[in-house]
Symmetry: C2
Subunit: 114 residues, 2 copies
């Protein structure tokens, strides 16, 4: 379970903004989004296609327009993956701590994790 595809979908800043707009501003179409962005409709449509392929967005065709909605599922998987990596790292640190000090077993303090 390695969501490098999701990471790739979030790698582009423009695409990231498209996603955050959908998340905070609600469902929208490609033309609506492109109206308040410095790129063309087709560029936005491509980004939406990429986000859709990554499962971060859902298509809702209605008549002649297509409305896109934010889909948080993959983000949850992503957080899970990150936490998993962090845990293996913690276990490594703990093992090292036990190796270098036979008593107490306190692992070194670490920043960045709640």
């Amino acid at each position: 379970m390695v969501p490098s595809e999701v990471f790739a979908a979030l790698a582009d800043p423009t695409r990231l903004e498209v996603l955050t707009r959908l998340a905070s501003g609600g469902p929208a179409t490609a033309t609506e989004l492109s109206a308040s962005m410095p790129i063309t409709r087709q560029a936005v449509a491509k980004h939406l296609a990429a986000l859709d392929a990554a499962g971060l967005v859902e298509r809702h065709p209605a008549g002649r327009e297509v409305r896109y909605t934010f889909e948080p599922g993959p983000l949850g998987d992503l957080v899970k993956w990150v936490e998993n990596v962090g845990d293996t790292w913690d276990r490594r640190l703990e093992r090292l701590g036990r190796t270098f000090s036979t008593r107490g077993g306190g692992s070194p303090a670490r920043a960045g994790r709640r």
Copy 2:
């Protein structure tokens, strides 16, 4: 605070594996890593440089070799960003729930978030 740079660093599967190897296997050099991978040492070195630029890895020069260590800090920021986006989405859903049903205010059930 938009860590699209961190996302970009994690976008490539090969680079992702380099990072996970450092996280689970402990510190290593570029040549050590490349020994058990299907790419050359220079390719690994490039990936390590990218990870270093993103703050996901730390260089530790020792004599003629350079040992790299995993750095979990940026991953924490990343999780924070994801949770922030998820929260704004939750607030949106709650607002909509209140609009469509005046009593109870129960927001729709949602998968993927703990």
